[in-house]
Amino acid sequence: MNKELDFSQVNWTEFGKATNATLQMLGYSSLFTLLLGLPIGIILFLTARSSSVGARTVYSILAFVVNLLRSVPFIILIIALLPFTKFIVDTQIGVRGMIPPLVIGAAPFFARLVETSLREVDRGVIEAAQSMGASTRQIVFRVILPEALPGLIAGFTITIITLISYTAMSGLVGGGGLGQLAVSYGYNRYETSVMLVALVIIVIMVQIIQMIGDRLVTHFTRK
């Protein structure tokens, strides 16, 4: 019998656990990526446009760090961050051990997407708010973020999907979840059926997230 298509050997309980682990990694890392990446994106946006020397310096430093982190391949980033991860969450493996590298890998990416979508906001609208006496803080929270919302949602959707591929990669270094299942069964033990099932689940996840993202973007687009 063709072993490659034998789904009877697939351990569904194992798959349930692995899917759950992936979703947990995804949930936490998405949340922290949002919390870290959004402010960084806002700071990048504000300092890039400023005329003050101090702000330009902040921009240069921040932009350098962001570019640096973005240029490191994720699999190397996980390894490079091992001591840091140990320090933050007291473990280097499993769901918990994967969250710090996932966030550090994805937040700079998301921050750049945030910066780009904030730049799309009509300058005239910002100017109108200034002419009405709005402070910088009010302009950020009442003008720029609401106006850029569709773009921010689209960017966050892309980031979550990137995180899914990162979680799968983390399976190579003991991250757990669907990635690890695919690697240890599908690759190391030639159980192609396991890999296939893992793949299908990941594809479904990506499709669902993209669909939700698209719906939200449509809902919030007023142009």
Binding site: D122, G124, V125, E127, A128, A129, Q130, S131, M132, G133, A134, S135, Q138, R142, V143, P146, E147, L149, F220, R222, K223
Partner: protein
């Protein structure tokens, strides 16, 4: 109300420096509609944006009421800006907010109580005639309606001054007229001082009390609209006016077309009630000269009717002189054109 003294604005530094405003002086009285007209690149946009410090002037003073806008701290400036409304060529509304929320925006910036916001927004919606569109988003409105929202938003905080940055330039002629009527109406009702910049003489003619002509960063001509309009001194001013009413080469041809031995061509200007009287025909009946109207406009500047006719008198030269004297006696302005 607004005094601008020696206002200079230079962009960039060193060899790349570009001076947009070269020492502007203006005095704008309370309750006045003051227009600044100029071609694009003349500096009019920079000038209006220096009034509320959207552009930081390089030197000079902008005094509104008793406050010198150029000497304010960041917080004081934000405070002062709430007393100055502004509307824009491209409306600059929040696309993510409804009409209601757009108008409420400046009120919410200063944490106005909800009931007060609601009262004020409804009052403004009524003022600009958009009550039934309160729940729509700007994308669902026409250009004219968007500008009405812009006006309502600018007036929600009861400002003393309204700045209009090419407010009608993106609108079609009919919509332009309805927005201009609204501005004039608001000026009367609220005693609001309005400063507007435009490149269309029509806008100045329709609602402004005073006009300044700006060219190359300098005010080249300034005064009550009726004076500037009927007796333009500078080529650039004439250019703006001619585009609206006259065609110079056609006129020259018309002047030369006479075969009469003795003819004189004059520009006769009627202002106010005189416009609609039959002065010209009565006078020629008395003096017995013939006349031909080569070109003419009967229109209004804001509320004042005026007529400006280019008339060629033909006949006995003494009779023509007498005719011209009679016209001057009846308070018409007569200016001889090159024969």
């Amino acid at each position: 109300m607004i005094t601008i003294k020696n206002l200079v604005k230079t962009y960039g530094t060193g060899t790349k420096a570009m001076t947009a405003l070269k020492g502007i002086n203006l005095e704008i009285a309370k309750g006045e509609i003051f227009g600044v007209i100029g071609h694009s690149g003349a500096g009019k946009s920079t000038l209006i944006r220096c009034i509320n410090m959207l552009e930081q002037p390089t030197s000079g003073e902008v005094v509104i009421g008793k406050t010198d806008m150029t000497k304010l701290s960041k917080n004081q400036l934000q405070e002062q800006r709430r007393r100055i409304g502004m509307i824009f060529q491209h409306f600059n509304l929040l696309s993510s907010a409804t009409v209601y929320e757009n108008i409420a925006f400046p009120l919410r910036l200063v944490r106005t109580p909800k009931a007060e916001v609601d009262r004020k927004v409804k009052e403004m919606l009524e003022l600009v005639g958009l009550t039934e569109h309160a729940k729509k988003h700007p994308a669902q409105l026409s250009g004219g309606q968007k500008q009405r929202v812009g006006i309502a938003r600018a007036l929600a905080t009861d400002p003393d001054v309204l700045l209009c940055d090419e407010a009608t330039s993106a609108l079609d002629p009919q919509t332009t007229d309805s927005i201009l009527r609204l501005l004039l109406d608001i000026n009367r009702k609220l005693g609001l001082t309005i400063v507007l910049i435009t490149h269309e003489m029509h806008v100045i003619q329709s609602i402004c009390d005073k006009v300044a002509v700006i060219q190359g960063g300098v005010i080249v001509e300034e005064g009550p609209v009726i004076e500037v309009f009927l007796k333009p001194q500078q080529p650039v001013t004439r250019d703006f006016i001619n585009r609206e009413s006259e065609n110079a080469s056609a006129l020259e041809e018309a002047i030369r077309s006479t075969t009469a031995v003795s003819a004189r061509t004059v520009k006769v200007t009627f202002i106010g009630d005189l416009t609609y009287q039959s002065i010209l025909s009565q006078t020629v009946k008395e003096t017995g000269v013939d006349f031909a109207i080569l070109q003419g406009t009967i229109s209004r500047i804001k509320e004042t009717p005026y007529g400006q006719l280019i008339v060629r008198f033909e006949g006995d030269s003494a009779d023509i002189v007498r005719t011209l004297e009679r016209l001057t006696e009846q308070r018409l302005e007569v200016e001889e054109l090159g024969a």
